[in-house]
Symmetry: C2
Subunit: 141 residues, 2 copies
DNA sequence: CCCAATTACTTCTAAATCGCAAGTAACCTT
DNA sequence: AAGGTTACTTGCGATTTAGAAGTAATTGGG
């Protein structure tokens, strides 16, 4: 495991969060783990956006180092692994919600599945409970 | 003005938001405009984190293209300019709050000014109103 | 058991971006 | 008119990213 990102720029939580999450891929990988139930490398690899495998591998390692993602062996198949969000990762949910809301409001030709968007807006707390429960259900032993 | 970022990766609001904001500098520039009352290039340049001038210029142009920041002439001095958040930019406030909360909770040795953090947590709506009012007060004509 | 397919990565290379230092142009100040 | 300030731009080496191709371990099928 490499160290996450070399130098600390300041004590500011925004700058520090960005040192972990501030790139174009980390949060879309987290999105797939959080909202789309993806668990395996191959599943993450064929995201809508087309991550390249080298970038995916790098980001996954980076997210593991940051304690946002865990990697565990697959119960049935030794060549497979499973990726899961930790609690630290799950707690990015509010951030993700804001990202979705801002994006759908302000970036043209952007859309999320209507039922998700509706649930998010209608009762945010309930939506968060549901997503969290879903994520914790399948956690590795 | 250059175009913002070349290719659209998908319709997903998360991916699209990240195409605009997903780097290590954009949101710290927005932080300085949002919470620290900075308005001029020179002020933004000597951020705690030390942006280089070339990166700052590039990000500012990028944020202008994205409609998040506006640049206006300074009333008293023709060689100066002022940078302001647009409404689109101001509406990143909830996202910034989540970034601060997550960062202070999970990234070690990270801290925001205690009075701000307290205000954020105690009454988030009131905090947002106050910040927004402050930001709209100094808007260009 | 053997071979092909699957899965999860590495490695390689070219292209893009970053960070620093230096330079420049327009304007203000004295 | 000379010097300082402000807001950049330019150049360049170093780092990072993207894409293609290759590899190693494992598994399923005949």
């Amino acid at each position: 495991m490499k160290k996450s990102r070399s130098k600390r720029r300041s004590a500011c939580p925004i700058a520090n969060s960005l040192d972990i999450l501030g790139d174009r891929w980390s949060l879309v990988i987290i999105r797939d783990l959080m909202f789309r139930g993806k668990r395996e490398y191959g599943e993450l690899l064929d995201s809508e956006e087309g991550v390249s495998t080298s970038v995916l591998a790098a980001r996954l390692e980076h997210l593991q180092c940051a304690g946002i993602v865990t990697k565990t062996g697959h119960p049935d198949d030794l060549k497979k692994f499973r990726y899961h969000l930790t609690e630290k990762g799950i707690d990015l949910l509010p951030l993700m919600i804001e990202l979705v809301l801002w994006g759908t409001q302000y970036v043209p030709n952007t859309s999320a599945p209507p039922e998700i968007l509706k649930a998010m807006k209608k009762d945010r707390e309930e939506f968060m409970r549901r997503v969290k429960q879903e994520l914790k259900k399948g956690l590795p032993a």
